[in-house]
């Protein structure tokens, strides 16, 4: 049971209680924010080794190698990068003309598509000496310059040599398609250059420089048919500066405003050189030899801790070496303590430890792998020691799959990428993105199922992040995805909500939102981005308490399956059907065999690994010893969709959009052993533990017969209605293990009633007498809990959860504080024709 504030506990018992239901759409799957990638740049820069680092000023610093030359690029405002806006005249006009002191001019240009500009460039020269100037942009009104949109920072030092002068706008300016006027204002005579233009394309007037350009433009003193050489730009990501000749490989590390670049020499590919920048990559020191390896370096990666400690890892053949800088002192190049048959890629990112993603093939088996590995900085791994290699992804030798080009960053959570190539009859070569549940440590090595990223590039993705975005780059691509979005609160618009919470059931919730004013006409876009298919729906029952309005407590989350717009003369609604967290697992049919051999992971770790595939995190409130003591042989095999003839007719009324409770989708309503939910169900059937969902988490609890009640119902928290049902489950429980091991638990009292109703289980993982006895006991306990199925309706209890024990008092039936265990909860909230706010509980024996 979730712990509630005292005022909420008190409020839910009152007859005068005021219902409140918090409902929000969260742009996450499980506990991991969804990434909506935006392509900021798609050019034709040559493919080659590359690197990315974003220091504290937010500038995008990139390296790339082309024809053995290392190039660098620094984009100060990458958030505004994108296609050239094509606003202005980029060619140098043939005719110079002097703009007198305290004059401004503006030339009209047409913008074809939405853009954001950060810079204005004008071709200019001082008449004498040097001059300062500012660039301006005016809106157009009826063919004339009107409102001032932006004034650039002052650009000093314009000399007498004609050149393109770059004026930086203090903040980027968003522009819609249309006409705009670009110009400059000068304090002294300045030569500008033009060619013949359209009728009155350029306007001039007198404007005192010191007080800035007038707003609006003002009456033009002169209008001429000229087109001046002036244009607006945004970061284009296609301008590179030669950084170092004879370079084969490169890496970047950053801390604060510092950047460290590393280059593997091409002529002597055993040598690592380094260069440093202390101003966010604006300027760089000279290259210097850092270390010489024992052989040709095939891969390199680097990272820095926030204080500047830096780790460079390299691969020489199948051996990884590291060199660490502690404070300002570089240590020696030292070999690692692991082995591999080959290394095909390295990535490293510091967060508490030096965390690595390594691709290659395993010794002996030659299975291709993506490994996680830690070089310790004292958090999860001892200082300056290597962890073992932990498999993140694995293929079989001979299957034709290779992994390479990993990358790694810690943005909102751990995010990684690698390249997966398949050489079979229908080959593919693509990148996969993975993420780790937010609360997981890198050492936990739990990752989502790799998700294909729409990119075919031989050198992988480079990843880094700012506070607002994750960035992914190649030499000719720049992508970003927003992170850190806040939930979209839908509470005020909820007309009704029915939410189901049953053990391991995909059944979910139906939520009706008012859309009377069309506010939800475009879900999945703009401010409603989070309200889209697959997004998480958080539901938290609560009450308006005195001094604490809208108090609530988060229950399980749901995931949007369908979004329906309902429109008729009497109502306009948005109806959301969402499935439970278990549906995420039911829909996960892995496209490969997963196997965890006996002894490799205990039950807790198996739950963590499998739930993480769909971005769910696992934890426990209470747990049986077996959960952590036993390490079974376990596998999930590839699953198939049910054949079409087993699916229901799409026109069946069960597909109605407004059925309540919401229908379980057909694909979830059929037995399918090859999905994640089947795996979880099998695992939990081995244990006395039970599972429940809360928000994006899955928790384990160990319900024991002697658990004390968490709450009392039927006394001050009334029971609105009740049905008390006894059921007839199995009464004799046989468990068979390996090598004819068997154990039996008999419910003698029930046998007297029901005669012989055996329940038989078999599991080769049970290899001891204790294990089969434990299983038989577990199955008997399950039957005991299920021997009752009471249905009790109560005013909403904001913290009630599955497997809680409640004490039921119902004097009419002679029940006085008898214990029952919660095995199902249906939350009903309705503000419409028949207002309701209650829970329907299913209760078993404790």
């Amino acid at each position: 049971m979730r712990t509630l504030a005292s005022y909420l506990t008190a409020e839910q018992k009152k007859k005068t209680r005021k219902p409140y239901l918090y409902v929000a759409a969260v742009d996450q799957i499980g506990g991991i924010p969804r990434l909506h990638w935006q392509t900021m740049y798609a050019g034709a820069d040559a493919a080659g080794p590359h690197a990315l680092a974003i220091p504290t000023d937010g500038s995008l610093n990139r390296l790339r190698v082309e024809s053995n030359t290392l190039y660098r690029q620094r984009t100060v405002t990458p958030d505004y990068g994108g296609p050239d806006p094509n606003l202005g005249k980029k060619t140098v006009g043939a005719i110079p003309q002097t703009l007198p002191a305290h004059y401004k001019q503006a030339t009209k240009f047409t913008l074809a598509a939405d853009t954001t500009i950060t810079t204005i460039l004008a071709y200019a020269a001082a008449v004498t000496g040097t001059v300062s100037a500012r660039a301006v942009i005016y809106a157009d009104a009826a063919g004339s310059p009107a409102a001032l949109l932006a004034t650039s920072d002052e650009l000093p030092g314009i000399d007498t040599t004609p050149a393109w002068r770059e004026f930086t706008l203090p903040t980027p300016v968003d522009l819609d398609p249309g006409d705009y006027w670009l110009g400059v204002i000068v304090p002294a005579g300045t030569n500008l250059y033009y060619d013949a233009g359209s009728t009155e394309q350029t306007r001039f007037n007198i404007d005192t420089y010191a007080d800035g350009p007038s707003d609006p433009f003002g009456a033009p003193g002169l209008s001429l048919d000229r087109e001046y050489s002036i244009y607006a730009t945004r970061p284009a990501f296609d301008t590179w500066t030669s950084f170092r000749a004879a370079t084969r490989l490169c890496a970047l590390a950053r801390y604060g405003a510092n950047l460290l670049a590393f280059a593997v020499d091409n002529a002597t590919p055993t040598q690592i050189y380094k260069a440093e920048s202390t101003d966010n990559g604006a300027s760089w020191g000279a290259w210097a030899l850092l270390a010489t390896a024992a052989g040709t370096i095939t891969h390199i990666a680097a990272t820095s801790a926030t204080a500047g400690d830096t780790l460079v890892i390299i691969a020489v053949g199948a051996t990884v070496y590291r060199i660490r800088r502690t404070a300002t002192v570089w240590g020696a190049l030292t070999v690692w303590t692991n082995t591999a048959a080959s290394i095909t890629g390295l990535a490293v990112h510091h967060w508490l430890d030096f965390n690595c993603i390594i691709t290659g093939t395993e010794t002996t088996t030659l299975h291709p792998h993506v490994w996680s590995c830690i070089y310790g900085d004292g958090y999860s791994q001892a200082l300056n020691t290597w962890s073992t290699l932990r498999a993140t992804a694995e293929a079989s030798a001979g299957a034709g799959v290779t992994f390479s080009n990993p990358s790694l960053t810690y943005a909102d959570t751990w995010r990684a990428a690698h390249r997966e190539a398949y050489s079979g009859a229908a080959p593919y070569d693509r990148h996969a993105l993975l993420a780790s549940p937010i609360a997981a440590d890198f050492v936990d090595n739990i990752w989502t199922e790799p998700r294909p990223f729409n990119l075919d590039h031989d050198y992988g993705l480079a990843l880094d992040y700012t506070n607002t975005h994750v960035w992914a780059t190649t030499p000719n691509r720049v992508y970003r995805a927003p992170i850190g979005q806040t939930p979209l609160d839908l509470s005020a618009d909820v007309l009704s909500c029915v939410a189901h919470d049953h053990p391991l059931s995909p059944q979910g919730a139906t939520i009706r939102l008012t859309n009377h004013d069309g506010r939800y006409n475009a879900p999945g876009a703009g401010d409603l981005l989070a309200l889209s298919r697959g997004a998480r729906i958080d539901i938290a029952p609560g009450y308006h308490c005195p001094a604490h309005p809208a108090a609530h407590s988060h229950g399980p989350s749901y995931y949007i399956d369908t979004i329906d717009h309902v429109s008729d003369p009497t109502r306009r609604e948005l109806v959301i059907h969402a499935s439970s967290a278990w549906s995420l697992l039911a829909r996960w049919r892995p496209g490969r065999t997963y196997r965890w051999p006996a002894g490799s992971r205990n039950y807790f770790q198996l739950f963590s690994a499998i739930l993480a595939k769909m971005a769910l995190e696992f934890s426990c409130y209470t747990s049986s010893p077996k959960l952590t003591d036993d390490f079974p042989d376990f596998a999930i095999n590839p699953g198939y969709d049910p054949p079409p003839y087993l699916l229901h007719d799409p026109t069946n009324p069960r597909h109605s959009t407004l059925v309540d409770p919401p229908p379980v989708p057909d694909t979830l309503d059929l037995p399918a052993w090859g999905n994640g939910l089947a795996a979880i169900t099998t695992l939990i059937s081995h244990l006395e533990d039970r599972l429940m969902a809360r928000e994006d988490m899955i928790y384990g609890v160990w319900p024991k017969a002697d658990d004390t009640p968490d709450y009392a119902l039927g006394t001050d928290h009334v029971i609105l209605s009740a049905t008390y049902r006894q059921r007839a489950p199995a009464d004799r429980f046989l468990a068979y293990g390996d090598a004819d091991l068997a154990a039996e638990v008999i419910d003698y009292a029930t046998v007297d009633l029901l005669h012989d109703r055996p329940h038989v289980s078999h599991d080769k993982n049970m290899t001891t007498a204790a294990s089969v006895t434990n299983r038989a006991t577990r199955d008997a306990r399950e039957a005991t809990i299920n021997s009752r199925a009471d249905t009790v309706t109560i005013p909403v209890h904001c913290g009630l959860e599955l497997w809680d024990v409640v004490a039921i008092t119902d004097p009419a039936l002679g029940l006085a504080a008898v214990n029952r265990r919660v095995t199902g909860i249906v939350l009903v909230y309705d503000t419409q024709t028949k207002p309701a706010y209650h829970q329907v509980l299913t209760l078993g024996e404790p």
């Binding site: 079989s396 997966e420 892995p590 490969r592 196997r595 590839p638 090859g674």
Partner: protein, 385 residues
């Protein structure tokens, strides 16, 4: 309990387990799945389709390869189809301590301790009914099929001398080979390909074709082959027959010849023999490109710094023949003829040259000029131009 379609990816005969690729699992295999014992090892071939029964869908140790499909079954595979043939095994023989009683004759595993090479088991495997065996039978871990029985001269025999024993794949013979009726393995012959007659004791390959008894027109070639340049090499060199003889011993080597040829008629070769040619170079055949220069025989320099006498071409006198031509060049009426067989008559030579008038072929003779410098009437004079 579920069944998956799958493909065999590897097989371990020692454990009778296979790595299988379940349909739908492109990158990863399920390792070491037990193969049903009624599936013979020979059937567990890589790439074959199979069905995997998961008795526990999530415990791979409780799964098995249930069937293998997509290929013909190996006959007798698994040893379960010929039980009646075992009934004549002498169970009561003292040496067969591990042999199962007749009532359990189907328990083949009990036969594993029989020592085949044991002298007492002379009748072992002499089964009443011929056994048909397909696919490989593993005798031990390193040998596909090994015969250890010392008694019989034939370790492997067909049902009759005419049986063809086929062999697919490369043949690696570590010893010497004899091929043909009457051929015997001999250390002096790497391959003795002999039918009835062996003449020379030390040859690398002896090809003696006397088995050709075809009626009608019969062509027999002792050794035939072709060197065909094909494909698209940057340059092609092709030689139909490439032999050399090498003196590579400190001992004297009185004779060294690249090719030694001889025509013969055997003792039974009584039929008419029209012509015999020690070396017969047939007319060139040009189906496509023709060489810029073509040679029937091209003899390069045979001399050496310490070679006393070098012959480019030496033709011994031809004797015991009605007509002797040591050399004849040109058409039917040759341009040059060198006769032989005996010394020429006085004043004559064996040299005949073609001259542009009739008679065309004229004998080169010596004449003594008279005092006036005249040669006999009608005589022609050779002179240099």
């Amino acid at each position: 309990m579920t069944i998956h379609k799958a493909v065999i990816r590897s097989y371990a005969s020692a454990t009778h387990t296979a790595d299988v690729q379940l349909t739908g699992s492109l990158p990863a295999y399920l390792a070491a799945v037990r193969v049903a014992t009624n599936i013979p090892a020979a059937a567990v071939a890589i790439g074959r389709e199979c069905s995997v029964l998961h008795l526990d869908p999530h415990n791979p140790t409780d799964a098995l390869v249930l069937s293998i499909q997509g290929a013909l079954p190996p006959a007798g595979g698994g040893g379960v189809t010929d039980h009646p043939l075992l009934t004549n095994l002498g169970y009561a023989t003292a040496g067969h301590t591990g042999f199962a009683p007749a009532a359990h004759a189907h328990a083949h595993d009990a036969l594993s301790n029989l020592a085949y090479a044991d002298a007492a088991h002379t009748d072992f495997c002499s089964l009443a009914t011929p056994q048909t065996t397909t696919a490989e039978k593993i005798i031990d871990a390193t040998t596909g099929l090994r015969f250890g029985h010392a008694a019989g001269p034939l370790l492997l025999a067909g049902v009759s001398p005419a049986t063809i024993l086929g062999l697919q794949g490369d043949l690696d013979v570590s010893g010497h080979a004899a091929v043909g009726a009457g051929a015997a393995v001999a250390t002096g012959r790497t391959v003795a390909a002999i039918d009835t007659l062996a003449i020379h004791p030390s040859v690398a390959g002896y090809f003696d074709i006397t088995g050709n008894k075809a009626s009608g027109v019969q062509f027999t070639y002792g050794l035939s082959g072709a060197a065909k340049a094909q494909g698209t090499p940057s340059a092609a060199y092709a030689f139909g027959l490439y032999f050399f003889a090498q003196h590579n011993t400190p001992s004297p080597c009185p004779q060294l010849g690249g090719i030694l040829l001889q025509v013969q008629s055997g003792a039974s070769g009584a039929g008419a023999l029209t012509w015999a040619k020690g070396l017969f170079i047939d007319a060139a055949y040009w189906a496509a490109a023709q060489p810029a220069t073509s040679y029937g025989i091209d003899i390069l320099d045979q001399g050496g710094a310490t070679v006393t006498t070098a012959y480019g071409l030496r033709i011994a006198n031809q004797t015991a023949a009605t007509t002797v031509r040591l050399l004849e060049l040109g058409p039917t009426t040759p341009y040059l003829r060198l006769a032989g067989g005996a010394a020429p008559a006085a004043g004559l030579t064996h040299l005949w040259l073609y001259e542009g008038t009739t008679p065309q072929l004229r004998n080169v003779a010596f004449a003594v000029a008279d005092a006036g410098g005249h040669v006999p009437a009608g005589a022609k004079v050779l002179y240099l131009v």
